[in-house]
Amino acid sequence: MASRNISVSETSRPKLPRHTKLKFDETRQVWVILAPERVLAPDEIAVEVLQLCDGVRSVAAMVDQLAEKYAAPREAIATDVVAMLQDLADKGFLTEARESTA
């Protein structure tokens, strides 16, 4: 089962839960997040970060990638990305890939 109440850090490997879908809405020409009883419109940056949330990549790796792409200070990017992902997680739109316990 998807875990709730996850705490996002640089070692997290977040992903969208099965029931949350990120898709481009052709009619309205915006990206949307589809979730139970909710349709949300993430901004450009949120979309970019969410597309990196594949359950394999760590938050640290995402931050590295974004810092390089935007030639921005890594620390500032890390703070923003962790805060944004935590907020998404609190709302139930992100879950965390689990270590295999088998």
Partner: protein, 414 residues
Amino acid sequence: MSDTLADNKTASPGPNAAPSDGLAVLESRRSAAETYGIPLAVLLEVTHRCPLQCPYCSNPVELDRGSTELSTEEWKKVLSELAELGVLQIHFSGGEPTARKDIVELVQHASDVGLYSNLITSAVLLTKDKLSALADAGLSHVQISFQGNEPNVADRVAGLKDAHKKKLEVAKWTRELDMPLTVNAVMHRQNLHQLSDIIQMALDLDADRLEVANVQYYGWALKNRAALMPTIEQIEETSRIVEEAQARLKGTLAIDYVVPDYYALRPKKCMGGWGRQFFNISPAGKVLPCHAAESITGLEFESVRSNHSIAWIWQNSEAFNRYRGTGWMPEPCKSCEFREVDYGGCRCQAFALTGDAGNADPACALSPRHEEIFKQAERESAGTQNRFLYRNFAGGTLESNDHQDKLQDNPNGA
């Protein structure tokens, strides 16, 4: 029944939602002045057949018979057309949607055309295999109605033996299949004392959301108002319990609360305003501004079986335009400063209580009928009339006096 994306709930993320995640609710972006954009979510009532006999059934008093229901191919065509129009989410509802033998096929088709699907179910007809097949077909969310937190009250309200036990089982399977679960609890005088336990039940079931919805009194529910109307003390206690739980369970269980409008001073903005952001399609294919709209006599509703497209019906049909915006309003709505806040309240309630859907909703304190109706409801809430008039295709069955002993499987249902 869910008033999806309508805003008579206290917990929906509105324009005030925390902005730190860079998310905006798409609804709130839309200008009130734009021509009516196609709704984000559409409710499909694929059948009116249902094994439950709830006394507050929200389906219209005249039920569509099984023989009039849209065929599998007709529903698939509807789903494809809705996806093309830009609808994003589909709620499969009823009646009991799983009473349709083709429900898995319909969910699969919704997935195939890119729609996000939600099943609003009583759960009592589901097997583990069927639920698993629905998950495989791409079902993204399950909403199960509960009538109480234990079988005595719950089975009695549902009018079906062992219904509660079955619901608990299906809720457990839903989470095992890793689908998000919403518990829908419809509340009234005879189960409000269980609210705290229902919240705990939702937690124990590992639900993601809980909808606490007070009964809305039109259609069949109006026939049972005397047996269902809560007291004002109960309502105050309910609000207190919900607010406490919302704060305590933030991040664990989202609780949406649909307030009872009889005890309010201002009416609800029903459906987000008539024809503004919601439509549903009835079992026989009528495109309706609200699932209770057929209770309003004298309005003609267009069907998907007509020569018109769904987009045309939404934009141009007489029934949608009759109460759209504010131009139709008489006083006291016409000059009211809140006319674009609540759009005059609920048309179905105005019709049911005043005989004219064009009147102000009597839930509003400014309605000339408000005082009289409120007083009547208050008298009913203090009364001792607790027998239900059950809802079924046989035209209704009055609960026997010794209801607890006589409860039997519904002979008139699906």
